[in-house]
Symmetry: C2
Subunit: 433 residues, 2 copies
């Protein structure tokens, strides 16, 4: 007997028919002798429907109080889907009970709309499991110290599931979703991308932070911190497939570096399209110049990704960094108003909103020299110019012209020996808000 957490995304819960299938799948696990805790997302479309109503009423500027109310509003989506799933399980003859975030309780800080989980009380969940019930806990939400409802932000239900698995010391956390696992890269760009049977936690963390949409990054961080074995698998297989087959499907995120992983130098290729580059040209190469530039940008709440500083020449240097494309105009405004006036007169700005970042990720890079040079050679053979480079122990990222992104991903996929049979077309995961 194992203690298992199942997490189902919004498309998996999208209709009563699908909720019934989710219930039947859970019952299969219970009848095989397992204890199951389920974390469902809201029915697909529901959170957007609620927030669209709010958008018709909202004040021009969102105060913390408005964010508080938006959280109280959005949290109803998971409360409803959780109750519906409990009812569907009861209709299958399976005792079940649903709990909201405050009933568990799932305690968070008070950062409305992007709260972080601080602790989860496991007593009530364990008591109901021991009474033979399936326990359903609303994803995406909690309460703060003052008893206000909070939500975790987009994709927060993944994080809820992993945090609950950690709190109850579950044997495995299964993320049922509308893709059937983690791929070497996006199968829509590379049709012969392969599903990975396992991937290390470190690699998954890099892939999630570098643009892979399969798992929300905070859920991977949680899994790493508490060493929760995590599996991504499809909720669209028939509910009555063999349990052993289902339990071994998808992609397992592991903490042991097995032999297979040692062999693969690069496990996956991630990319993002929504980046922009800003260069501050002709700045004095003095201590504190990076802070003078990036401090102002950070103060405006803009996250900076790749950063490079050119070699100095005549006491001047160029300083470049990337931001999310949505933040580009605001970052340029901050620089023009708060930074350039304090720099030498010769300083100027340059920018490019048509860039992409392509990253290779692999735990094998730790022990293999020459991975970066293989990457650079492959890109150069395609005539793709590298604008910026950023490396860590298990990833190398390059910033390139956006128009080359598919070509770059395909050539790297081949260069690192990741091509497999042409897979069936796997849609982008679409079940999280």
């Amino acid at each position: 007997m194992a203690l298992i957490v199942h997490k189902y995304g919004g498309t998996s819960m999208g209709t009563t028919e699908r909720i019934r299938n989710v219930a039947k799948r859970i019952v299969k696990w219970v009848r095989a002798g397992h204890q199951v805790v389920v974390v469902p997302s809201a029915m697909s479309g529901e959170t957007n429907r609620l927030l669209a109503l709010a958008a018709e009423l909202e004040p021009a500027e969102r105060s913390a109080q408005t964010c508080r109310e938006l959280d109280a509003l959005a949290a109803t989506g998971e409360q409803a889907s959780s109750a519906l799933l409990a009812i569907a399980l009861q209709a299958e003859g399976q005792p079940a009970i649903s709990f909201t975030g405050w009933q568990v309780p799932v305690r968070t800080n008070s950062a409305y709309m992007k709260a972080r989980i601080e602790s989860i009380e496991s007593t009530r969940i364990r008591k109901e499991l021991d009474a033979g019930r399936v326990v359903i806990v609303t994803g995406f939400q909690g309460i703060d110290e003052q008893g206000h409802i909070t939500t975790l932000g987009r994709g927060g239900s993944d994080t809820s599931a992993v945090a609950i698995a950690a709190a109850i010391k579950a044997d495995e956390c299964l993320i049922y979703t509308d893709v059937d696992g983690v791929y070497t890269t996006d199968p829509r760009v590379v049709p012969n991308a392969q599903r990975l049977k396992t991937i290390s936690f470190e690699e998954m963390l890099e892939l999630a932070s570098l643009g892979s949409k399969v798992l929300q990054i905070r859920s991977v961080e949680f899994a790493g911190k508490y060493r929760v074995p995590l599996r991504v698998l499809s909720s669209f297989t028939p509910w009555d497939i063999d349990l052993a087959e289902e339990a071994a499907s998808g992609t397992l995120i592991t903490f042991e570096e097995d032999e297979k992983m040692e062999k693969a130098v690069v496990s996956g290729i991630a990319f993002t399209r929504d980046e922009a580059k800003i260069s501050v040209l002709g700045v004095p190469d003095t201590p504190g110049i990076a802070y003078a530039i990036l401090g102002a940008v950070a103060e405006a709440g803009i996250e900076v990704d790749v950063i490079i500083q050119n070699l100095s020449k005549d006491g001047k240097t160029d300083f470049s960094f990337t931001v999310s494309r949505a933040d580009y105009d605001r970052a340029v405004k901050v620089l023009n108003e708060k930074v350039l006036p304090n720099l030498d007169q010769g300083a100027s700005l340059d920018g490019n909103k048509q860039i992409s970042k392509v990253s290779i990720v692999g735990i094998g890079m730790k022990s293999h020299a020459g991975v970066a040079s293989t990457m650079f050679r492959a890109l150069s053979q395609e005539g793709i110019n590298i604008q910026m480079i950023s490396t860590s122990e298990i990833k190398t990222s390059v910033v390139i012209d956006e128009k080359y992104v598919e070509l770059a991903v395909r050539s790297l996929h081949t260069a690192f020996g990741l091509d497999g049979e042409v897979s069936i077309d796997v849609p982008k995961r679409n079940d999280e808000k």
Copy 2:
């Protein structure tokens, strides 16, 4: 400065445009110096939408556990409308905060789907009022001792509003709805029915229990128990009408018997159409016979209304009672299976599903003899046969053939001098589930 509770029904909250108008109306009251607590229903249609989803999944027999989940599901409707109203108030520049039943908390017993309020903690509400905020409290819901979500049943938001008004010692509880007050009878049956400016609590209680849909009976009971001044008024007047005019509109339910009330012998005429009559004929007239018959019916959870026992003849009597038409078939089954076999062989059943109950209600009946005879004369003049009679201190009810109900109501309305000018057509209140 007064402390006022506003309650808005589902149609008043039915669209974002209407929610905005509710917000503007509340702001008018706050700017006039009042503290306001608001109890909104769910947006019209929302509770039915949620319960329809559940109906697609429900087990054949509803257990207490299923009812628990239905309550968790249904309670989301008011949580969402309350948050939306808080956002709309904030957009008007008015600080506001919404609380769910568990956040107040509103404590109830554990009777899911028909819970009764046991206590309401006023500390948190008062604190927020004193901080200058409008406080919105979800209607219809609470939590039980174990922290499970409960709902109060149909029309429960009226009860929530009155109970909250009692808990915070509000000066008045205003029930904003889609009719503009309490009428002498249903204006769809008697076009010249008149709106009552005031009505005594006792009369309102009788009217509510005898078929008037304007106020949920438990809300009237609460108002009586805690002497909460209660006013029923229209939410469809323009939000910016003069506040003094609005505050005096509709119908006030009072606890003082003023002169006007002394003069009116009968204040209102109520009627129900969904009744059925069952007679057990030829039963032995022995002690315990009423219990033998009605005990079995009550055990089956069927409520009995009017009861009469004929004069005995040769040691035998006939015993008749009314039940809700929906319970008729079940009641007949219970009698055939559990009661008749224990009675003398000559006993038999008779039934009629085409009956109605018409009631006259008036606090003046206490001190005026002859009210019943006026009623009987009026009905006899129209050739309407009275099948059963039931009286209390301030009401007289008669059971008649259903086809005469409109004729009976109109003739009684005239006989007791209630006819006024022909009023505008007032729709039946339709904003409660």
